[in-house]
Symmetry: none
């Protein structure tokens, strides 16, 4: 299992070239316009396989779309505008420590966490 095929290599390559989060649809379109014909189903499978192997990190946008990124980059959280969807990546060492400590106090180990901050950005407030 985990055979190395042209298609999987192509999907993995996209995430090597691109920073940040990208949807399966976007990867598919990108490969298609680059001349590499890779089926949509295959892109989804490849992306999920990579995520299972811990090579990609995934989040969900407000509209329910799944986004993936190469997950080597250090941990951070997302600050999302509820109106325009603009997203800012924020790092929070304090939060990481707090989560670990609180979990430890309750006897939990191998702790990970997710956090999302939602608000209205300056631009959208001005616009109303």
């Amino acid at each position: 299992m985990a055979r190395t095929t042209r298609q999987r290599a192509a999907v993995a390559a996209v995430f090597d070239q691109l920073e940040g989060f990208h949807s399966a649809q976007e990867v598919h379109a990108r490969l298609r316009s680059a001349g590499d014909g890779v089926g949509l189903s295959t892109v989804y499978r490849a992306v999920q396989a990579l995520a299972d192997d811990g090579e990609l990190d995934s989040i969900r946008t407000d509209s329910g779309e799944a986004l993936y990124r190469r997950c080597s980059t250090q941990h951070h959280h997302h600050l999302v505008c509820r109106s325009c969807g603009r997203t800012v990546e924020v790092a929070g060492p304090a939060v990481e420590q707090w989560a670990d400590r609180v979990a430890g106090e309750h006897g939990f180990a191998d702790v990970s966490h997710t956090m999302e901050i939602v608000g209205t950005c300056a631009g959208c407030r001005a616009r109303d």
Copy 2:
């Protein structure tokens, strides 16, 4: 606008009775089995209207489903065991403040946030 109808009251009532996060589909099913006939579209609209008014908070599950909860009750987070599902509610003033501060620094207002901490609880670790 914002007329008070039987349907909207029914949807709001569900969140008064129930703790935690619930999906629109779940609310719809619950109302239906309770004898209150409310259309699915209406549930979606009511839930979104309530979220817009700041009465409900929303997050997305891993599978892309939208969940809502009454956001008046005092804020807390969940510490979940990835093995047995045991859940502990934890309060974290430090995190609230951090989230507000970081959001403010980026020009965001009306900030809310969700956080979930996942780990393996003492019992499950001992069991393996």
